[in-house]
Amino acid sequence: MDKIGILIGNEILKLRRRKILLVMLILLLVVCFFYQLLMGTLLETLSGVIIEERSATLSEQAELVLKEIEKNGGAEAENMYDRQQWYFYSEALADQIEYDDWRFQSGLLDDWAYAAAEGTSEATELKSLLERNDYAGYYRYQMAQNDLIYGMAGTAELAEAANWGYQYCLDHQIQPLTDDWRYLKALDASRALYQLRSYDLRLERTGISTDPVLYEETNNAFILAKYQLEHNVEINPADSFGQNSIVETALGGASKTSRFWDAIASTSGITLVGLFMIVIAGGVVAGEFQKGTVKFLLLVPAKRWKILLAKYCTVLLTGLFFLLVAWVGNFLFCLLFQGGKEAILPALFVKNGEVVRRSPYLLLLGRGLLSTVRVVVTATLAFAVSSLLRNSAAAVGVSMLVLFGGSTITSFLMLLGQDWGRYLIFANMDLVAVQDGTTGFAHQSMPGAVIVILLHMVVFLWTAFDSFTRREI
């Protein structure tokens, strides 16, 4: 055993003296740096520019557009769209509505313009809401509308759920501003509740039950949103880790996640580490043959499998080291560009109907561990290829071809709806995606992915060890 330790030490010694390692390290940090720069400052600046430009020009734009539409007849224009535009902008001017006004952000102005252009009956009421700048009235109007619609559809139970958000905002004097997270969160909660009620209704009326996991997750989403509103918690780092992905996909949640934790939870650096692994694993065996040093390597009192195992361990250790650098680098650069304000927020979950707090760093750790799987599988594949070939460039090339070719084929299968594609290793390597449910194969599950990965690993390693120990030098 200690012989393997010595051999690993030798491999690390050799690897450390290769310039390529340093180049990779620097490249990795540079990528992390620029990714965080983009996530942290550039995106903020960009969106800031857009908002500023827009809010400065609503009334100006109104004048321009109105002048244009006047030629087509103004309120009497032939074109429905022109009329709509006319009402929209003339009312905005009349009531001095800018982009940051709730009447614009809630969509009330749009609704009115549409109603007025169509000449529907709601127009008068909407106009009075606009003129009175009465957001409570807006909520009441929306609720009345829901009551009416669901009442006619014979699903009055749903109206209450659909109105939950409006009622909440009304009770807590929250304006319908899309700038205000509480308004958005209330709508999210409302959406989750609506979903739950419709599951109940479906069961009651048709006997079709809902997947209990989906039901529970939806319920949790509602509990969580309500909790956040009541405890004034704007940002939940757990959202950035795809913890509520099922519900998110089902509901199309509108409230925002933490930009800080989004930036940290991203696995963008991992692809690069996978690439590095191909290069390192590709050279680690085939390179010895290429340089002829394999004779030096093997002319020692250690069985071949030990020598190969030491190499494999060294490749894996290098991969783990790179991953650590990527995660830590990501984190530090994120702190640098975004500050540590959100770094200390707790992550909120729902467990057995109760909201529990947990450190987001546990989530980060979990994600970090999951991300190692992809790197390990990539490295193992490249290692197996490397121990079959005598040229490291060829080994790197073949591994790249297999990986990218395989991934492309898997994506095609996914697009073609061929569900058996999920049995390919390429659909399973990224356990983070499997966990987040973003691989694109519907029936994919964590245990299934683990089994597929293990089977492939056995084949890769068996290939590597069998060929290396039998090889004639």
């Binding site: 003296r17 340089k291 093997l298 002319l299 009192p301 004639e472 030098i473």
Partner: protein, 323 residues
């Protein structure tokens, strides 16, 4: 002295070794034993199977049939113990070019038991690389790499040292130094050394015993003295520098002095039997001088006989060619 040693256990024992690569049988029933305290010359023309035998002995190639043991350890069953006792260079010594000579040795030393920093410095000194040990091997010349190879091979004080054409790339001084090192290691420290080569002259200068392999078969294993005396088969050739070679040859015609040949206008070559060599020489000198031919010098012709024997032995089978 040799008889005493040969009663000991062999350090390297190869018995009934067969090896097929592709669909050619490269080695045919090779049997070989080498002992502590001797330099064994493994001689054969290109492609005879020297490197193949050596590779099998150090575990780089598998063996199809037969048994190999090193210092009493069976190569297959106790691979690690056997290799702990083995040092070697196979074909060209290859090192990691991005590491220094010293670092390459250190990597090698770590896998062996009891190799200290001092030992590394000691062997570097021994092969004359101390001054350039910190330099990257990528910048070494072929001869320097060869020296480093020797240093690596003896680093862990093996009992068996296998060197495949170790003088390849060495300058004359280096070759001589290596010969001296190997002789000392064998004769004073009791290593068993196997040196392969296709140059008989080189073998002659450092080996105690020689085994000749041709087309994968061992043809002959013999102590070098026996081989030399057998090659001479009892006579030596002397060259007579005279004023008139033809006339001198005619004069010597009646003498029972062995074959006489005229080399050119003023040189005469005469085979003289080992027994009563001085008397015969004196007689020839007298005869030439009395026959009124000037005799300038008499010298023994440089001995090329061993090489000739080797060539005969290997060429006779029509297989190998001498490089």
């Amino acid at each position: 002295m040799e008889t005493v040693m040969q009663e000991k256990q062999p350090v390297l024992q190869i018995s009934h070794l067969n090896k097929t690569l592709g669909n050619r049988q490269i080695l045919k029933d090779v049997n070989l034993e080498t002992y502590s305290g001797e330099v064994f010359g493994f001689l054969g023309p290109n492609g005879a199977g020297k490197t193949t035998t050596i590779k099998i002995a150090v575990g780089l190639l598998s063996l199809d049939e037969g048994d190999i043991s090193i210092a009493g350890y069976d190569l297959r069953r106790n691979f690690e113990q056997a290799l702990e006792k083995t040092g070697g260079i196979v074909e060209n010594p290859e090192f990691y070019p991005y590491l220094s000579g010293y670092e390459n040795l250190r990597i090698y030393a770590r896998v062996h038991e009891n190799v200290t920093e001092e030992r590394i410095k000691e062997v570097l000194e021994l092969v004359g690389l101390s001054l350039r040990a910190k330099e990257k091997v990528g910048r070494y010349s072929l001869g320097m790499r060869q020296r480093l190879g020797v240093a690596q091979a003896i680093l862990h004080r093996p009992r068996l040292l296998v060197l495949d054409e170790p003088t390849n790339g060495l300058d004359p001084a280096g070759t001589k130094a290596l010969r001296d090192i190997l002789k000392r290691l064998a004769h004073e420290e009791g290593l068993s050394i196997v040196v392969s080569s296709h140059l008989m002259s080189e073998m002659e200068m450092m080996c105690d015993r020689v085994g000749i392999i041709v087309e994968g078969e061992i043809r002959k294993i013999q102590p070098i003295e026996e081989m030399i005396s057998a090659a001479k088969s009892g006579y030596e050739i002397y060259v007579f520098h005279v004023s008139d070679a033809a006339k001198a040859a005619a004069l010597l015609g009646d003498l029972p002095a062995g074959t006489v040949a005229v080399a050119d206008a003023d040189h005469l070559e005469v085979q003289i039997p080992g027994a009563e060599q001085e008397a015969t020489l004196a007689k020839i000198n007298k005869t030439i001088l009395q026959g009124d031919v000037n005799l300038y010098t008499v010298s023994r012709k440089e001995d090329r006989k061993l090489e000739d024997v080797f060539i005969e032995m290997t060429n006779g089978q029509g297989g190998g060619q001498i490089g």
